[in-house]
Point group: C2
């Protein structure tokens, strides 16, 4: 059954905080929600790898490889949501430094992207020690960016 | 600089609703947050394609192909968050039908997954009419699942 796409789009619009005008320009609140969603999912797929790297739970190479592939996509998603129009939005821990030192923020993004991409490659190597070390490097890159650009709780 | 991974994990744990025990079993509230995050990002990357399919904004094949590839990963992410332990969580529109008719819910997931996978293939074809039609089919699959398993606002 093919339903009318105008009706489909209207149903979608009703179902979220989007409006039809948002197709061209998302509201600041929507941008914050989307970038936080990306961070939430990065946590979902990175966190289970940490106790593996620590030897606290059994190492599972297949899970690491799957999660690394997911993270390699998720890591691309938050950055276009960090625009100055979102500075007034509540319920975000994003610091003004993001907009004051854009080159440093960009470099932190790129470091994290690079570590995740390395994790994708290493996760297929079968070398457990290297995989564990690269999980640690990835976590360190995330934390380093948070240290500079996210408010402490 | 390589920091201690225990400290890194602790910093992560402090930074979200995760606790260390959550590595093995996520709280129902966390599962809901994660599945909603996946839906939020699906909307981020699907919605801009709708007005293209409608001819309301210029068709951009590169954006469709990129978003389709993102959606192909994102569509895998919500489903493990729909477990009976989340039925008591507030702020979710997930209907009890999800847990009463698991076979139908699973079929709806698979239909959506299949339409997104087709969109990935078609998006590289260069056939604008086919791409637009497949955007519509993908939206229809999303809406069909929502009709059965998500509360109306």
């Amino acid at each position: 059954m093919r339903i009318n796409i105008v009706a489909a789009a209207a149903a979608f619009a009703l179902s979220t905080s989007y409006s039809l005008t948002a197709f061209s320009q998302a509201k600041p609140e929507t941008l914050v929600e989307q970038r936080q969603a990306a961070m939430t999912l990065q946590a979902k797929y990175l966190f289970p790898l940490v106790p593996m790297a620590q030897g606290r739970v059994p190492f599972d190479a297949a899970t690491v490889a799957r999660n690394a592939a997911y993270l390699d996509v998720l890591i691309k998603m938050p950055w276009d949501g960090f625009v100055p129009s979102t500075e007034g939005v509540k319920n975000t821990r994003a610091l003004p430094a993001i907009y004051k030192d854009e080159a440093k923020f960009k470099a932190a993004q790129e470091r994290t992207q690079a570590e995740v991409s390395k994790l994708v490659v290493v996760s297929k190597s079968g070398n457990e020690a290297n995989i564990k070390a690269q999980i640690t490097q990835t976590v360190n890159a995330c934390n380093s960016c948070h240290d500079s650009f996210r408010a402490k709780r």
